[in-house]
């Protein structure tokens, strides 16, 4: 009788380990960046980190859990608002920023059982309405001064370079932590459960997955991520304008980055954020035409690269820098041909 080949299921591939090592090193190097780079670079990188964070969170919601939210800006703005209020109470600015973000993340908890029971389109619109409602309520606060908005003046007491660096480290730390948390989550049972839910919620329930619990965890984590992005934005821009910070254009940006980078891949949103950042740098001054251009670029991607840039790369080469799935190897040989990244089924176009 022949010997049974040895089956091995690996969670970490060689590439994965390598990337993880590189990523950790990169984070450490970036942390040292303010020491030898100019203020402008630090500023730009801070912005890029915010984009990366936002894109990853939107991807977490939409790509992994199937929750399309047109209202994530509510947490973006709420974190900043809580921070403003805490500073007003006398809490040191950077602590206030962290607590503010945490508060916004907590606010997601009572919101979740209600929101998460809504179906697709209703959920998307309801989140937008919540964002609008919160904006109006925030504007009632005399501290915010309605349309005019206000500023986190306390930050002006810091030396500009120090403020920039602190903000950068806050951004770096938040992004690294949230991404690590997300990665860890996706590799675990939650990640598999989320994808099962996204693919077929009924089937997932029938095999015993606690659908509500999984969605809640993801929802709250995404909220926290967006809130951290929001407080970093506040620290960087100092001004707090309700219409801007609670604006729906943030969702559009997140959507763009996730779509272009590649939904349902871990690396995709990061790539999408970089693309978005570069576009912003090059064309951001073109105002509303820039937004129209974004739409055009997205159309191009959807028609020619529907899986996003990273999805296409992964589809061709099977390359997965940070594996969230599992790799099967039989008798020492990894099973070849990673299947194509599954696309969302397009609504059947009869033409």
């Amino acid at each position: 009788m022949s010997r049974m080949p040895q089956f091995l299921v690996e969670r970490w591939t060689v590439t994965g380990r390598l990337t993880a090592a590189v990523a950790c090193t990169l984070v450490l190097l970036l942390a040292l960046l303010p020491g030898f780079a100019g203020g402008l670079i630090v500023d730009k990188l801070t912005t890029l980190l915010v984009y990366i964070l936002l894109a990853s969170m939107w991807n977490l919601l939409a790509g992994y859990a199937g929750l399309v939210s047109v209202g994530q800006q509510v947490f973006f703005g709420l974190g900043a608002y809580f921070a403003l209020r805490l500073v007003d109470l006398g809490i040191p600015p950077y602590l206030a920023l962290l607590l503010g973000a945490g508060g916004a993340g907590l606010a997601a908890i009572p919101l979740s059982p209600f929101m998460l029971r809504l179906k697709g389109g209703e959920f998307a619109i309801a989140m937008w309405v919540v964002a609008e409602a919160v904006r109006i309520i925030v504007m009632f606060d005399p501290l915010v001064q309605g349309e005019t908005g206000t500023s986190l003046i306390a930050l002006n007491s810091f030396d500009p370079d120090l403020r920039r660096n602190l903000t950068f480290w806050l951004a770096l730390g938040s992004t690294a932590m949230i991404l690590a948390l997300t990665f860890w989550l996706l590799r675990g049972r939650i990640g598999a459960a989320a994808q099962a839910i996204r693919d077929d919620e009924e089937a997932a329930t029938s095999i015993g997955i606690g659908v509500m619990r999984v969605k809640q965890i993801i929802f709250v984590l995404a909220a926290l991520g967006c809130a951290l992005a929001g407080v970093v934005w506040l620290a960087s821009a100092i001004t707090f304008q309700p219409r801007t910070i609670f604006g729906v254009q943030w969702t559009v940006f997140m959507l763009f980055m996730a779509l272009v980078g590649g939904l349902r891949t871990f690396e995709g949103p990061i790539f999408g954020a970089i693309v978005f950042f570069l576009l912003q740098e090059a064309f951001g001054d073109f105002g509303v035409w820039y937004l129209a251009g974004l739409g055009a670029v997205a159309v191009g991607f959807a028609l020619f690269l529907p899986d996003g840039v990273w999805g296409a790369v992964r589809g061709r080469t099977g390359l997965e820098l940070l594996p969230t799935g599992a790799q099967l190897s039989i008798g020492g040989e990894p099973v070849s041909a990673r299947p194509r990244v599954p696309r969302p089924g397009p609504v059947k176009d009869p033409a």
Partner: protein, 298 residues
């Protein structure tokens, strides 16, 4: 109070016209058009242009503008919307947002950023009212708007129920593939639905401009109201959009008694409340009531 309620009901008529187009596109084509509000404003500006440039009465201008809007909708569906649907659920969101941006910027470029209104063009109609017993006064324009809304919905209902196009539309929205199998060209049906939807948006925009000021960036605010009306009334129901519009209008009307901000906020609160009530009665009611809903237990 009664006055506010009546104002709200009449406002609901406007929302019904605005929301009907959105609902039609989603019901028939399964397409969410985030530029719907901007298309309404475009309609308003076109009517404004005709009224100011050529001195036409807005009502006459509408007769000219609506077919143009319809044609625009036809073209948009064929050239843009149909293509984006191949990209899945998310691409239409992105592209229509971009389209909205193009429209906003275009209108800003062509007409400037000043807020405009058709109030002058319709003369005394914008402030005249009928005096009813019990001290109630009903503005003539709101009543006419409501009347137009009902007329439009009835016309739409008749088209859907009794015409060949209407049957084709209903069949395509029920089961597009089966419709193709009986010889219906779904592409043409989609374009027709889009044409009707965009024309309706234009009509709504003109009605808005008659009673209020519009500016090129007013689209998104109207869009969210349209969405609220559709969802409150029940997605997919034609007369539901009238009911939804009325509920929204009444809520906003009562809200405005408190403050200008409460105008919008009341609408949002009622919207969320309706959703919550619906959830309660469908989910929790069967499984354990409010506690179940809040604790998220299974």
């Amino acid at each position: 109070m009664l006055d506010a309620a009546l104002q709200g009901i009449l406002l609901g008529g406007y929302y019904a016209v605005l929301a009907a187009g959105l609902s039609l596109m989603f019901g028939v084509i399964r397409f969410i058009n985030l530029a719907h509000g901007d298309l309404a404003i475009l309609g308003a500006y076109l009517v404004l242009f005709c009224a100011e440039r050529f001195g036409l009465s807005p009502w006459l201008a509408l007769v000219l503008v609506l077919p143009v809007m319809g044609l625009f909708g036809w073209v948009l569906q064929g050239a843009l919307f149909a293509r984006t649907m191949r990209g899945g659920f998310l691409l239409p969101l992105l592209t229509t947002f971009g389209l909205g941006a193009v429209l906003q910027n275009g209108m800003f470029g062509l007409f400037g950023s000043d807020a405009r209104s058709l109030g002058n063009a319709i003369g005394s109609l914008s402030w005249e009212s009928w005096q009813l017993p019990f001290g109630i006064s009903l503005g003539k324009l709101p009543v006419i708007t409501f009347g137009i809304a009902v007329f439009v919905l009835v016309a739409l209902q008749l088209v859907l129920s009794h015409t060949r196009l209407g049957r084709a539309i209903r069949a395509t929205s029920a089961d597009a593939e089966a419709a193709e199998l009986v010889g219906v060209d779904a592409r043409t049906v989609h374009r027709a639905a889009a044409a009707i939807a965009v024309a309706l948006a234009g009509l709504a925009g003109a009605l808005l401009a008659m009673r209020a000021l519009v500016n090129p960036y007013a689209g998104p605010a109207q869009l969210i109201f349209a969405f609220e009306a559709v969802v409150i009334g029940g997605i997919g129901s034609l007369w539901g959009t009238l009911v939804g519009g009325i509920i929204l209008g009444v809520a906003q009307s009562f809200g405005s008694l408190l403050s200008p901000q409460w105008f919008q906020l009341a609408g949002h609160v009622v919207f969320l409340g309706v959703l919550g009530a619906r959830l309660y009665f469908s989910h929790a009611g069967r499984r354990g009531g409010l506690r179940f809903l809040l604790t998220g237990a299974r």
